[in-house]
Structure formats: C-alpha cells, structure tokens
C-alpha cells in the first residue's frame, strides 16, 4: 500500500503540495487529474524521490510504501527506484540498442549474466506488449522504433528491474490515438501485477483505465474516490466543474 500522510511540498517558497493525505491500494490503477501546475506530477515524483534532484525542494510529512517511510535516512534511493518504476511523458529511450535499453536497469543494479539478462529482456518486452514487434531487431537502435513503440520500450525498461509500483507521468500525451489505445490496454494488463499511479490530462483516459481518481487543484487534493463515482457524481463542485470542462 502507498500512503501520503500530511504531505507538504515546497519549491523554495512556492507551496506546491498542501497537506495531502491519500491511500493507494495494491494492484490498482489510480489516476491523478487536475489543471496544469496543480501539483499532480510533483506528487507522483515523491514516490520515487525524483524531486530530490531539484534545487530548493522541501518536503514535510510522510510518504509510506508498505508502511515504510521512503524518506527515512536508512532508505537507499537506488533500491527504492528499483522498486518504484517510472514512465515519463515523452518517450526517452537511451541512445542504445533495444536490448541494451531494457538491460540498462539490470546492469546498473549489478546484473551482468548474459543469459539472465536475455531472459529478463524477453520477459519485460513481452509484458510491455512489444516483444513480437522487436524480437528480430533487438540489436537495432531504439531510435528506429515509432513513438508508441518507444514508450512501450520505456515501460519494458521500467519492468525489467522487477518493480512493484509503476509511476506514469502522462505516458500517452505525446502519442497518436492508436498508440495511446495500446498503452491503455497495457495498463489494464499490468494492473494484475503492479500498482499503478498515472498522471493524465485526458479525462476519458482517466475514466477508461483507472479504478480510483484523485483530483488536484492549486496543490490540494480536492477529491479522491472511485473513478466511476468521481465522473458520475463527484462530491465537490470544483471537481464537477473541471470534469465537465467548465474550468481548467
């Protein structure tokens, strides 16, 4: 289970997240929606500590994964990131071969056994629904793939290090509708084995893929409930306004 307890986050003096409390169950898909700059991506990046790299970032409160505070001094960030994979907005394959892209996470985590790597690569590419398209050109550059394929490659890359959680930051916003549909199908498949948090600007996408939805505005978590309920009968008027397009 993922949990945020009284989370406040600042960039220098800017109060980006205000007193967030949220619980996310295992093997579920949670969509985070809200207008640009509302803090949803910042919130997402708390869970693999990608905000650590930013100058002037400050966090109070607790972020827990399986009841362990991931900001505790004893937590090794590299191991945390191995457990919490991330897929970015723009496909960002490395300038390496398809195989080496997927193998990268394994290699930096000290795995160099060729056979093991090949098995893992096949398994991850299969899980990301890309294996059949690339199995004959594993040694070709990742840049030869289409945008949608590149994004699935990035998903495979994240899966290769066996995470239990996947963070997705608008994973389909740079893709065409067909590639988007494939990614959404994939998210549905991956839910069986992973806990997924997905930031999206696309309301229909949130409605299609997620079990629960959190609506952020001005750094606050306005509403967090079952996706169905959120889209049919939201509790708050702000949510209603945003979903129906009267705001944002």
């Amino acid at each position: 289970m993922i949990e945020a307890k009284n989370v406040n986050f600042y960039y220098h003096t800017f109060h980006a997240l205000k007193d967030i409390n949220m619980q996310i169950e295992d093997n579920s898909v949670t969509a985070l929606i809200g207008p640009s700059g509302c803090g949803k991506s910042t919130f997402l990046r708390l869970f693999n500590r990608m905000n650590d790299e930013i100058d002037g970032a400050k966090l109070t409160g607790e972020c827990l994964i399986n009841n362990e505070n991931i900001y505790h001094k004893s937590v090794q960030v590299d191991l945390l990131r191995k457990n919490v994979g991330m897929v970015f907005q723009k496909p960002n394959p490395f300038p390496k071969s398809i195989l080496e892209n997927v193998a990268y996470g394994l290699r930096v985590n000290g795995i160099n056994n060729k056979q093991l790597i090949e098995e893992k690569v096949k398994e991850s590419l299969t899980a990301a629904a890309l294996w059949n398209e690339v199995k004959d050109k594993l040694h070709k550059s990742a840049f030869e793939l289409s945008g949608g394929q590149q994004q699935r490659l990035c998903i495979a890359r994240a899966l290769a290090v066996s995470p239990s959680i996947l963070l997705m930051d608008e994973p389909a916003s740079a893709l065409d509708p067909i590639s988007t549909a494939k990614i959404e199908e994939l998210i549905f498949e991956l839910k069986q084995r992973y806990t997924i948090i997905i930031v999206t600007h696309n309301m229909q996408q949130a409605a299609r893929v997620s079990d629960k939805t959190g609506f952020f505005m001005y750094g606050e978590l306005v509403e967090h409930s079952e996706t169905k309920k959120m889209f049919l009968a939201p509790d708050k008027t702000e949510t209603q306004n945003y979903i129906t397009g009267r705001f944002g």
């Binding site: 790299e53 990131r81 191995k82 996470g105 930096v108 994240a158």
Partner: protein, 284 residues
C-alpha cells in the same frame, strides 16, 4: 524604385554566397601557396632526416618528433583534466556564484595571450619546479593553454545531452556516476572529440608557449626522456623565416616545414573525425 521581396532575398543570398566564396578562396589560396612553395623540398628524406648545413638543407625529423611529443603530452594532461572539470561544473556543481566564477575564469583563461602562458610556464615549470627546458615543462604549459578549450567544448557537449536521459537513468536506480559513465559520456563523446581536434590544432601551431619552456634551436639527436628539450615545427619555421644562417637559402625548407605542419594537423583531425563518426554510427 520598388524592389520586390524576392529580389531582396536574392540580393541578400548573393552577398552571403560571395562572402562565403571569398573566405573559402583565401583559405585555398594560403594552402595552395604553401603547397606550391613547399612541395619542391618534400621527400621521405625531408621528413626522416636531420637539418644540415645550418638548416638550409636536410630534413626536419627532430622538429616533427618534437611537435608530436608536445601534442601527445599536452593532450594527455589537459584532456582528462578538462573533461573531469567540465563533468564537475555541468553534472555536479550547483548553479551558484562559485560555479559562475569558475565559468568566467575559464573563459578569461581562454582569452589570455599565449605568450603570457609561455612566461608563466617558464616561471613555474622551468624555474620554480626546476624541470628546466623540457618536454614536460612545455607540455604542461601547452596543456594550460588548451585546458579552457577542452573544458568549454566538453561543457557544451554535456549540456547537449537531453535531460530526459539523466532522469530516465536515475529513475531506474542508477546513481550519478553510473549515469555519467554509461549514458552521458558516450552520448557526448562525439562532441567532446571536437574539443580534442581544436586542441590538437592549437598545440601544434603555438610558438610562444614553447619558446621559453621546451624548444631548442637545433638538436642533433632525439629526446631520450621527458626532461629533454625538443625541436618543434612552429618554432623551427619561425627560426628559418627570421633568424636562420641564410634566410634566402632556407626559404624552401621553411615552406616545406609549414606544409608538413599543416599535413600533420589535418591528419590528426581526420583521425579524430573518423573516431567521432565511428562512435556516432554505433549509437544511432
């Protein structure tokens, strides 16, 4: 008279084209002039034998060897140092006033006249550290001269690596060193090579920094250690052109020396270019 937009464009491009051709023309003229005048003395003998008869005939072998040693020596010193400095300022250092100061100083260093480096090298390496006039003193001085070039080009090369590679790598549990070693440096490498090429050209051509730190007017033998003096092509050329025993008689040798110098620089640039292309081909 009204000139149409299209005519204006055509006039502008015509001017650009003429200026471009003039630049190219000057370059070809210089190269042609040196080739034309230097080709007469060119032979394997010229390259592989020692100067004779007060340097009015014979070859320039010691000067070629000396220049190669100096290029090699200064690159070995400046390249790792410069690349590591650039990695520090781009990848590690916070963007505060210290970093800015380092950057400003690096730029200033690049604009200091080379004779100043020569004097500095003489004071520090030749006298204070007591290396004497030697390959090591000359290489160190030259390396100071090219350090800012290496740092600047490496910095630009690193900055050109998309940030998404860094975040992507970190998100997979790689630490900074792993990210730099496995992703950033290989990606930036072809552009870093550009800095190397510029440095090689600079080092092979400089006279002032080696004047007081390493070169000899004439040496009858090759150096046997890094604490020996050497002859060098640019200085040899300078000597032949200004203070030889018989300037008129040694003029063809001078042109030959210039030609060899240009060929060496072009050869080294070509090798660097091949390495660069090879690397890019593997990546793409």
């Amino acid at each position: 008279m009204i000139i149409s937009k299209k005519t204006k464009e055509q006039i502008a491009f015509a001017i650009f084209r003429i200026l471009g051709i003039i630049t190219l023309g000057v370059l070809i003229w210089i190269l042609g002039f040196i080739c034309f005048n230097g080709i007469s003395v060119m032979s394997w003998d010229f390259i592989f034998s020692y100067p004779e008869e007060g340097m009015t005939s014979g070859g320039i072998f010691p000067a070629i060897v000396g220049t190669l040693y100096l290029v090699l020596g200064s690159i070995i010193i400046a390249f790792p140092l410069g690349v590591m400095s650039a990695i520090y300022t781009v990848e590690y250092a916070k963007n505060n006033w210290v970093t800015k100061l380092i950057r400003i100083m690096t730029n200033n260093l690049a604009s200091i006249p080379s004779i100043v480096f020569g004097l500095f090298g003489m004071t520090l390496f030749v006298n204070t550290l007591a290396f004497g006039d030697s390959i090591i003193a000359g290489s160190l001085t030259l390396s100071l001269l090219i350090l800012p070039v290496v740092i600047r080009t490496t910095e630009e090369a690193l900055k050109a690596v998309p940030n998404t590679y860094r975040t992507g790598s970190m998100a997979l549990g790689a630490n900074k060193i792993q990210t730099i070693k496995r992703i950033i440096l290989p990606t930036a490498f072809p552009n870093i090579i550009t800095g190397l090429v510029l440095s090689i050209g600079r080092v092979s051509g400089e006279t002032a920094p080696i004047l007081f730190t390493v070169v000899a007017y004439f040496l009858p033998k090759l150096p046997s250690s890094i604490f020996d003096q050497v002859m060098a092509l640019p200085y040899h050329l300078y000597v032949l052109a200004t203070s030889g025993t018989d300037i008129e008689k040694s003029r063809p040798v001078a042109y030959g020396t210039a030609l060899v110098l240009i060929i060496i620089v072009l050869l080294m640039n070509t090798v660097a270019g091949v390495i660069k292309n090879q690397f890019q081909k593997n990546k793409k």
